[in-house]
């Protein structure tokens, strides 16, 4: 399904930098949806399935704010 979606979007000429940013935003949105539905943090495979991506592609999404949040939480 991911392959077909990519094909339909025809994003071949799009620069990677832009595409990765958009993907990170989308994955983050799916993450908070899953979180509020299940009450726990989704794993990368759950996110990959929901987003139509590989686990490695999900792992490439930056979650800068998450790391900073958890650091502040653990220190306080």
């Amino acid at each position: 399904a991911g392959e077909i979606r990519r094909f339909l979007r025809d994003d071949g000429a799009v620069k990677v930098s832009r595409s990765v940013k958009e993907r990170s935003v989308r994955v983050r949105r799916i993450q908070s949806e899953l979180e509020s539905r299940t009450g726990r943090s989704p794993t990368v495979s759950e996110l990959a399935e929901a987003a139509g991506l590989t686990v490695e592609e999900v792992a490439a999404c930056e979650q800068a704010d998450v790391a900073v949040d958890s650091f502040e939480r653990e220190l306080s």
């Binding site: 994003d11 071949g12 000429a13 799009v14 620069k15 990677v16 930098s17 595409s19 990765v20 590989t54 686990v55 490695e56 592609e57 792992a59 490439a60």
Partner: protein, 145 residues
Amino acid sequence: MRAVVNKMSLKFESRSVNEAFARQSVGAFVAQLDPTMEELGDIKTVVSEAVTNAIVHGYADKAGFITVAVRLLEGRVLELKVKDAGRGIENVEQARQPMFTTGDDTRSGMGFTIMETFTDKLRVRSTPGKGTMVTMVKVLKERGA
């Protein structure tokens, strides 16, 4: 000789799970050139093909290490080397033919053809019993072009 702008290498075990790691990792390195999605797709695909060959054919009988070495050269030239110390190829010219395979019927025999199509240069060096080194060169489009 073109000047080397940046380089890296990966070394990993011949496990099929590492194929996805290798393609993603090379993708992350190449990201510094800000390629198009199409260029990135081509690069990941050829890395997959070469690494899969090393795992499936090179290390068919024994496990071993695979090295992927990537250099960015001046002028947006990308050089990829995928090396194994596996069983090697008896006849490289034959192996490179479209649809030639020594594998089972899950193999298409199109790996080298894909590598050749998606890059600007493909070189295969192999010694039976010693291993194989596949070198690919791809020139990325100028930014804004």
